[in-house]
């Protein structure tokens, strides 16, 4: 009697003890799983580092340092005639109002008995943001009766002082910094101790307009958000009907021949064209040829529509194709016309997929910067756009803009704007997922 394993080596003696080949196969599988986990870990680590640095830099921008001041609105400075005539009062510029606000802080320092060695008048006035004067002026012009009274104002503190409260500026760096002195930081400490200077939520960052480099503390992204919203409206109202109509025709009606094949290849190709190309096209057609205004959301929207259309068409066609042919056949079988079959049966069933594709296309358009560079949307705009033809900027463009500024306070604001942009993108992608989950039908 011979041993079976001796005759046929490689056949295992027992199911319980794995032989070398099985062990090798198992090891290969374990290795593959490990590679997968490593890949995911690398991806997650990159995400954590990216999000971590953005959040660490940017969360500070949602809170800002404010000074609470009792401002005496001196009639002698603000309204010499005493007639409270708004036209005459407009002659007093923010320079005049700035002096009044400076005086208010000086009076507060004296009243509180704060003594800082070697503090100059310039040090005191540089504690306050240049935006403060504009704020007071607007309030007074809106309500001339305030002149002569002492009114409490909550004004922004200078960007460097804000940086000190947030830990960006230190006594050491202030020694070397020509824009802030250690004396001012001492004063800031004293004001914080008395509750005059404090951080609070900064709504102006989300709703306010951009500001120049002299007042980074006042910069907001209200106009960028509005501009992006206007552009998304244009994209939605153009690319949804055009994209869906094109896909329905191509998918359901168009004959299959070389010409439609060519169109199909071109659409897939367009989806991969670098977005800057659409910007060049937009500049040539919409601005130079059609004479639409520069920096206007309508032009941005048109350019982004061109960019989003291929995405919309491709996803719509996929959604239409996913509707089983039996639905069409049944509708046609009981005598519906082809158009009735499509509009009454196929399109409603494909709608969730179409909407998901549309939302993803919109999210892509929302994050796009390159084509907007060429059509004048990377601009300094301070007036809220009243319509599609008024100048505006866009969210990603605002981020780009702020990263180029010299003042370090803009780094924080750029990261803050990235957070807001991400929140919008996250909300849109969530909406796409929810739509798909709730309304998608499987056969």
């Amino acid at each position: 009697m011979t041993d079976a394993s001796a005759i046929r080596p490689g056949i295992r003696a027992s199911l319980m003890t794995p032989d070398t080949r099985t062990r090798r196969r198992n090891a290969a599988e374990a290795r593959f799983r490990l590679y997968g986990r490593i890949a995911i870990a690398i991806g997650l680590a990159a995400l954590v580092v990216l999000m971590g640095s953005v959040l660490a830099n940017g969360l500070g921008s949602f809170r800002q340092s404010f000074l609470t001041l009792e401002v005496h609105l001196d009639e002698k400075v603000l309204d010499k005639s005493g007639a409270r005539d708004p036209e005459a009062m407009k002659k007093v510029t923010t320079i005049g109002y700035g002096k009044i606000v400076d005086a208010a802080l000086k009076a507060t320092i004296a009243a509180e008995g704060i003594v800082v060695e070697g503090l100059t008048d310039k040090d005191v006035s540089d504690m306050i943001s240049k935006e403060a004067a504009a704020l007071v002026r607007n309030r007074v012009l809106a309500d001339p009766a305030l002149v002569g009274q002492t009114v409490a104002f909550k004004v922004l503190a200078n960007g460097r002082i804000d940086g000190y409260l947030k830990g960006r500026v230190t006594m050491d760096s202030a020694e070397r910094d020509s824009n802030v002195s250690p004396r001012q930081l001492e004063l800031a400490d004293a004001l914080v101790a008395r509750g005059i200077l404090a951080k609070s939520f900064n709504a102006g960052f989300i709703t306010g307009p951009d500001a120049s480099e002299l007042r980074p503390e006042a910069a907001g992204m209200g106009i960028a958000i509005l501009g992006s919203a206007y552009m998304m409206l244009v994209v939605l109202f153009l690319s949804l009907p055009i994209g869906v109509a094109a896909s329905i025709y191509l998918e359901e009606f168009a004959p299959k021949n070389r010409f439609t094949d060519l169109i199909e290849v071109n659409i897939s190709n367009l989806a991969a064209v670098p977005s800057i190309v659409f910007g060049i096209l937009g500049l040539a057609i919409f601005i130079n040829f059609a004479h639409l205004p520069q920096s206007a959301p309508v032009v941005g929207g048109l350019v982004l529509t061109l960019m989003t259309l291929p995405t919309v068409i491709i996803s719509t066609r996929a959604a239409l194709r996913a509707v089983p042919p039996s639905i069409r056949d049944a509708a046609l079988g009981i005598g519906a016309s082809k158009m009735q079959a499509i509009f009454h049966h196929v399109l409603p069933l494909a709608a969730p997929g179409i909407l998901t594709g549309m939302i993803i296309g919109l999210a892509q358009a929302l994050g796009e910067t390159a084509p907007l560079l060429l059509i004048g949307m990377v601009a300094f705009v301070r007036d809220y756009p009243g319509g599609l033809f008024d100048p505006a900027t866009a969210l990603p463009v605002q981020v780009y803009n702020w990263t180029q500024r010299a003042d370090p306070a803009f780094v924080e604001r750029a990261s803050g704007a990235i957070i807001v942009l991400m929140v919008f993108l996250l909300a849109m992608n969530m909406a796409a997922i929810v739509l798909r989950r709730r309304f998608e039908r499987r056969w």
Binding site: Q294, A379, F380, P408
Partner: protein
């Protein structure tokens, strides 16, 4: 489809309305060096006047001038900011497109500074040091040789023995032009390299060779803005970067500035002309738009007023060296005098 027809007609209507509607805000584009000054003025203008805040774009001096010269009309810009003087080719392009009169407004001067990491060594440069450090060919012991210098001490024994690594603005920047003329050409002349190069290659090619830089990595062109140069220096503490004065003034806690010919760059030394590396800043106004675009005249008057561009104004606080001949500029702007031919 109904929705399509609706959308198309809506866009057509809107386009018609937009074309009929007059533009009521000033549009400005151009130099990224002038951009912060222009935004400061635009902001103050919007605050204090009944006109809307002007829209200010960057994009570079050359691009801005080209846009200005695209033609007359509401879809073209009103003002081009420029960190270098307009060129004859721009004026020709303007004339070709019907832009006949341009007003040249000099707003002040800007200094170009050389700065390294704040914790690094101190430097005192001359243009000759920069030429010998960065040029492709230098004069050594009376002969023209490929640049052999490795450290700053090789260039000038008075300088620290630190490897040569310089971040200079790329060729698309207006700043590079000033660097070329005021530093490299000056250094080329004073080291005697120009003479040797002209002798070797002829008049034109020799002068051009003054501006050719070594390509072994010691000199790096930065095509981005100053924030990029700053972050490169942050990563590479041995490097020396080229910045605008206002950028340096906003980042003095990170940068140590070097002297040039023994002069520390500051608003004062640039306005007296002691600091050698500076340049005038301009903006160019399309005079055909004056009186058509509301607020244009008021904006340019406001820009050159003492409250803004004067030595105590916000522009000087940001780093602009105010023009000693500002009063003449004010008179010229008030009269709306277009510029004459380039001299």
């Amino acid at each position: 489809m109904n929705a399509t027809r609706l959308a198309v007609s809506a866009i057509a209507l809107a386009a018609a309305a937009g074309a009929a509607e007059a533009r009521d805000q000033i549009q400005i584009a151009g130099s990224s060096t002038v951009l912060p000054y222009a935004t400061i003025v635009a902001e103050a203008f919007g605050e204090n006047f009944d006109f809307p805040t002007p829209v200010v774009e960057g994009g570079g001096s050359g691009a801005g001038r080209k846009k200005l010269c695209e033609g007359v009309g509401e879809s073209t810009i009103d003002i081009a900011n420029s960190s270098s003087r307009i060129k004859q080719s721009d004026i020709d392009l303007c004339a070709q497109n019907g832009v006949n009169d341009i007003m040249e407004v000099r707003i002040g001067y800007d200094g170009i500074v050389f700065a390294s990491d704040v914790n690094g060594a101190e430097f005192a440069f001359t243009p000759a040091d920069w030429y010998n450090a960065l040029a492709a060919e230098v004069v050594k012991d009376g002969a023209l040789v490929a640049n052999p210098n490795k450290t700053w001490a090789d260039v000038n024994p008075a300088l620290p023995a630190q490897d040569i690594l310089a971040f200079i603005p790329g060729t698309k920047h207006g700043t590079r032009e000033v660097f070329d003329v005021k530093v490299l050409e000056a250094g080329c002349k004073s080291t005697g390299a120009e003479e040797a190069l002209v002798a070797a290659k002829g008049e034109d090619d020799g002068k051009k060779a003054c501006l050719s830089l070594r390509t072994d990595g010691a000199s790096v062109d930065i095509d981005g803005d100053y924030t990029e140069t700053l972050s490169r220096i942050d990563a590479n503490k041995n490097a020396i970067g080229v910045f605008g004065l206002s950028f340096y003034q906003n980042n003095t806690e990170k940068l140590r500035v070097a002297t040039m010919d023994g002069v520390v760059p500051s608003v004062e030394t640039i306005s007296t002309g002691d600091y050698p590396v500076s340049r005038p800043l301009f903006f160019y106004v399309k005079t055909a738009h004056l009186g058509v675009i509301p607020g244009l005249q008021e904006y340019i008057d406001f820009f050159v007023s003492d409250d803004m561009a004067g030595p105590d104004g916000p522009l000087a606080a940001y780093g602009l060296v105010s023009d000693p001949e500002l009063a003449q500029t004010q008179a010229m702007v008030a009269a709306g005098t277009p510029m004459g031919p380039l001299n």
